[in-house]
């Protein structure tokens, strides 16, 4: 068997599962509220229970997102010249012929994705708490409703892109989400700067 290297700690993998699971359930129940999808409501035993579930999923989601900060935030805030070049070749996603510059642990697309998830994860949660706890203040309710729905639009676009890139578009990557491991050889090609930094190349 090929030599494997750990890309994500167990801690990271478990937290990502919670983050992804709560986020997807929140999006599904969100769509159900938005478009009155009675079948989804019925799965939760009615819209009353679904509202309670949606609210508490939001709590789990934000706790998991805050916990993820120590996994990704420092990486996500650092950009270098190779990252700039990465954008110029669109990460190699629009053509297999271009030369993709050497990457660290995460490419700048992933880093910006993470920052977007943090920013809109905060806005969607804060506005969610607005809708939950400020029901007698019409102004807070209306602003919260608007911000909650704008953030929702960002999530339903960004998350599926992320899922596609983490599965079909990059065969083998999905394994990282499950056990945190990837083949050392792949890592040397895809993340040379990270592998150099940890002295495996």
């Amino acid at each position: 068997m090929a030599e494997m290297i750990r890309k994500s700690s167990v801690d990271e993998v478990v937290n990502h599962l919670i983050l992804a699971g709560t986020c997807i359930l929140l999006m599904i129940t969100g769509y159900a509220f938005l478009f009155h999808v009675e079948i989804i409501g019925a799965l939760f035993g009615g819209f009353n229970t679904m509202k309670t579930v949606h609210n508490w999923l939001g709590v789990a989601f934000i706790l998991s997102l805050l916990y993820s900060l120590h996994h990704y935030l420092i990486d996500a805030l650092e950009y270098d010249a190779d990252d700039l070049q990465w954008f110029k070749v669109a990460g190699g996603y629009l053509s297999h012929k271009v030369k993709v510059p050497p990457m660290g642990k995460y490419n700048p697309g992933q880093k910006l994705y993470y920052l977007a998830v943090v920013v809109f994860g905060m806005t969607i949660t804060i506005s969610g708490f607005g809708l939950w706890f400020f029901q007698s203040n019409a102004t807070v309710m209306l602003y919260s409703h608007l911000i909650h729905n704008i953030s929702f639009c960002v999530f339903v676009i960004a998350v599926p892109v992320h899922i596609y890139l983490g599965t079909l578009a990059n065969p083998g990557t999905f394994q990282i989400m499950v056990n945190g491991m990837m083949p050392l050889k792949d890592a040397q090609k895809k993340h040379p700067k990270w592998i150099k930094a940890i002295g495996k190349m």
Binding site: E38, I157, K190
Partner: protein, 259 residues
């Protein structure tokens, strides 16, 4: 919007000039809808209860408008849900069936389906929805149950002076116009209100909104954000499929040849 109204649309016509402030309508409403009494404090006005409540679907507002010509002018105005043709409460409500349109065009509610999110009160131009101790919304439903049995709403049934009239909306409007009322408040606003008012003076004098409208953010959300959330998701799925077929997934081998 999902707020279709039929041509059989019914309405209540309020004519404040005919109202004597007896509030039999308030009592009849409580009695038919089995609403509890509310303890209130006297604050120097006959208006009681002071505003709509989960246990008060309609109230008579006592409005004093003294002038030199008429130092003792008192207006009695029936306040209740307007049964808007384009109802903000129905547009924003996230729970299917909690608010619904009756065949007569009224906006009715189902306590069991309401999830108590209270969004409806923030989207109502007239500040009508109220919430009981269970957190569920309550308001006038034009006696939907009585209408379904071809009966008149209880408030109208009891009104001794004709200040409240019930009937086909079109007919009520033309009758009031023939009687010489220039302003029929609610004739056109929000696709026409189901509670309409025959006013002698400007609606402002009666404390009515001049141009009632659903909050801009709610309209923006309904017309742009809701479709965007579907188009966005669908667009990403389509783009991913096209990318997968036209360009294909990342391959290490190809890249190696390039290097």
């Amino acid at each position: 919007m999902a707020n279709d109204t039929t041509n059989k649309r019914k309405a209540i016509l309020v004519t404040p000039e005919n109202c004597i402030g007896c509030r039999a309508c308030q009592v009849a409403c409580k009695s038919w809808n089995q609403l509890d009494a509310i303890k209130t404090k006297n604050t120097g006005t006959y208006q009681n209860p002071p505003d709509l409540d989960a246990d008060a679907f309609n109230i008579i507002k006592f409005i004093e408008v003294p002038s030199q010509m008429d130092p003792m002018r008192w207006l009695f105005l029936s306040r209740r849900c307007m049964h808007c043709g384009d109802a903000g409460c129905m547009t924003i409500c996230p729970s299917p069936g909690a608010l619904f349109r009756t065949p007569e065009g009224a906006v009715a509610f189902d306590h069991k389906k309401c999830i108590g999110c209270k969004l409806c009160s923030s989207a109502c131009p007239f500040d009508v929805p109220r919430y009981g101790e269970d957190g569920k919304m309550s308001k006038c439903n034009l006696c939907a149950d009585r209408m379904a049995a071809s009966m008149t709403p209880s408030c109208v049934k009891t009104c001794p002076t004709g200040a409240l009239k019930f009937g086909n909306r079109d007919e009520l409007i033309s009758a009031a116009q023939k009687e010489g009322f220039k302003t029929i408040y609610g004739e056109k606003d929000l696709d026409g209100l189901g509670t309409i008012f025959a006013f002698k003076d400007e609606p402002k004098l009666y404390g009515m909104l001049e141009n009632p409208s659903i909050p801009t953010s709610v309209i923006f959300w309904h017309t742009y954000l809701k479709p965007l959330s579907l188009i966005g998701l669908g667009g990403v799925v389509a783009a991913a499929a096209i990318h997968y077929l036209a360009i294909g997934p990342h391959k290490e081998e190809e890249e190696k040849e390039e290097v």
